[in-house]
């Protein structure tokens, strides 16, 4: 569906995307996971053929975005990071007018719009002005709008950023159903739980390059341990208490020292905690959990995803 080789994007002297290779297959949900400024949106905008490629090769649905933009866009659904809904139109008209841009006939667009409103649970809002919708509703409307042309490929740039947990779950459920229906999804996110929930395969992106690629499971197995012990110590009189303590437990596993806690990577977290206590150290809080993509990201880049 998408194939990129050495794909680059620069804005003046800012290199936003520095040569990435990506292959997205039919029917899969593919993710770009990365922090702010990683180059996710720049990549998505090139795939959506609204932003010209600065270098490298890009094929979307087997076509060249430079010469076949309109043909590509007619088969894409795009949910941009910033809403581009028309605030002055009501909910239904936003869908209707957009469908007409694709050259779909009036009766078909109307029927399709009603169906989509049902799908995203906005039927009772069909006459409401967009500016009166909540953030979650706007996002759902944007997704409905991106589906009006029954796309083969759906691009979602941070679909749930800024939404409350409940609205996120509603949206995930809808995206999951689309995936079941066979729509190929490309999702960018800086939430590791979103990537884990939705993506079959993903790339970890940072500073314009791809740091790793695989399924969430593969990435965790490859770059992290099964469990993580999180240790939190009280405030020391001087210096970073976590830095000082790290020296005493280096042998227990790979360590990540954060300002507020130490992460110890080990197949058995409980054992780590037991050994910490044996050495007479008194953490004020401990937690054993499974590794997540957040840990993968930390290992690969030395930074946390959301700061």
């Amino acid at each position: 569906m998408i194939s990129a080789r050495g794909l680059r994007k620069s804005f003046g002297d800012v290199d936003a995307v520095k040569g990435i290779d990506v292959e997205v297959r039919k029917g899969e949900a593919f993710g770009f996971l990365g922090p702010n400024g990683a180059g996710k949106s720049s990549t998505m905008r090139m795939i959506a053929t609204v932003s010209p490629v600065s270098g490298g090769e890009l094929r979307i649905l087997g076509m060249d975005p430079a010469t076949e933009g309109p043909a590509i866009r007619s088969r894409l659904g795009v949910c941009p990071q910033e809403d581009t809904l028309d605030n002055e139109l009501n909910v239904f008209d936003n869908l209707y007018v957009y469908g007409r841009y694709f050259g779909i006939d009036k009766a078909t667009v109307r029927a399709r719009a009603e169906e989509l409103l049902e799908f995203v649970q906005l039927t009772d809002k069909r006459q409401a002005k967009v500016e009166n919708l909540s953030g979650g509703m706007k996002r759902r409307l944007t997704i409905a709008r991106s589906l009006v042309n029954s796309p083969d490929l759906l691009l979602l740039d941070e679909p749930t950023t800024g939404l409350d947990p409940q609205a996120r779950h509603v949206l995930w459920d809808q995206l999951f159903r689309l995936k079941q229906a066979g729509v190929t999804l490309v999702i960018t996110t800086h939430y590791m739980d979103e990537a884990e929930q939705l993506c079959d395969r993903l790339v970890v992106m940072d500073k314009g390059v791809i740091a790793a690629e695989g399924s969430p499971r593969q990435l965790i197995d490859e770059h992290s341990t099964r469990e993580v012990a999180e240790l939190r110590f009280g405030i020391a009189d001087e210096g970073n208490v976590h830095e000082q303590i790290a020296g005493k437990i280096e042998d227990l596993g790979r360590l990540e020292v954060l300002p507020d806690r130490i992460l110890v990577y080990s197949p058995d977290g409980e054992e780590v905690i037991a050994k910490v206590h044996e050495r007479g150290l008194e953490p004020i809080a401990v937690l054993v959990r499974r590794s997540t993509l957040e840990d993968v990201f930390l290992k690969l880049t030395g930074r946390t995803l959301v700061d």
């Binding site: 609204v50 932003s51 309109p70 795009v78 007018v97 007409r100």
Partner: protein, 275 residues
């Protein structure tokens, strides 16, 4: 710019035919018309009528109707009506291509939504300009129809031809200002366009008094203003005093400005939207 080449190529790939590209946006512009027509009626039809009554009838009562000093008009009302309607065409054109264009880029972001579909930059510029053309044509038609009973036109066909000229005049302004708007980062510059562009043109391009009164230097300056070409052509058509070679020059000037303005607007939109 590194992306200049790619930008050219993206735009050449518009794909849709010119007409098809614009027609797909008809429903959108219909919704715009439905929500703006009331304000349009007031600014397009009612306030110009105040001008005609205030300037043409009342102020005109103090101006002797001397054809030798009024470019062939037998009354000030006859003289000023074509000037007012031409100025009006300009004002609608500027009004419809300043804030609404910025709105499409920054506020309601309709251009961003449109460009995510098979539509190309050229298509969205054309559809917006088509809407502006409709606004100018309808407002000028009503203006001319309402004034016809006042006996200000020397023939029935003069105002009909003038109507086409007014549309062309309006589009000359619409395309150029559209191009400027796409290159502006904020709406603050629009105040300048109105204060330093529209108002002086309205006052000194022969709408209210013959440009011969400006003195030899400013008169020559006035020849180079697009509004004067539209005013002079509209007036000579309405008064039936057309001089063919001069009329052709006017038409050529307005047509050339419109053609360049159109390309300038499309280039501007490409640069703005295809970064």
């Amino acid at each position: 710019m590194a992306s200049q080449d790619g930008l050219d190529r993206l735009d050449r790939a518009t794909g849709l035919g010119i007409l098809e590209g614009a027609l797909r946006q008809l429903d959108y512009w219909w919704t715009v018309l439905k929500r703006t027509w009331r304000g349009g009626v007031i600014s397009s039809f009612i306030s110009p009528l105040f001008y005609v009554v205030g300037m043409g009838v009342l102020l005109g009562g103090f101006v002797p109707g001397d054809p030798a000093r009024l470019e062939g008009a037998t009354s000030y009302l006859d003289f000023v009506v074509p000037g007012l309607v031409a100025g009006h065409a300009m004002q609608i054109a500027v009004g419809e291509t300043t804030y609404p264009v910025m709105g499409g880029i920054k506020w309601h972001k309709s251009y961003h939504a449109q460009l995510a579909t098979p539509l190309g930059v050229r298509d969205i510029v054309n559809a917006h300009l088509g809407f502006v053309a409709f606004r100018i044509a309808s407002a000028c038609a009503v203006f001319l129809l309402v004034l016809a009973p006042f006996g200000v036109f020397a023939s029935w066909w003069g105002p009909i031809l003038a109507w086409f000229v007014l549309l062309l005049l309006g589009m000359a302004f619409a395309t150029v200002i559209f191009g400027i708007s796409t290159r502006m980062s904020s709406e603050e510059g629009f105040g300048l366009i109105f204060r330093l562009g529209v108002v002086p043109l309205m006052l000194f391009s022969g709408s209210f008094f013959p440009i011969a009164n400006l003195g030899p230097v400013l008169e020559v300056v006035a020849w180079f203003t697009p509004l004067w070409h539209g005013v002079d052509l509209t007036r000579t058509l309405c008064l039936d005093t057309v001089d063919l070679p001069r009329a052709l020059v006017h038409l050529a000037v307005l047509a050339i400005i419109t053609a360049f303005g159109w390309l300038w607007a499309i280039r501007g939109m490409e640069g703005r939207m295809r970064s």
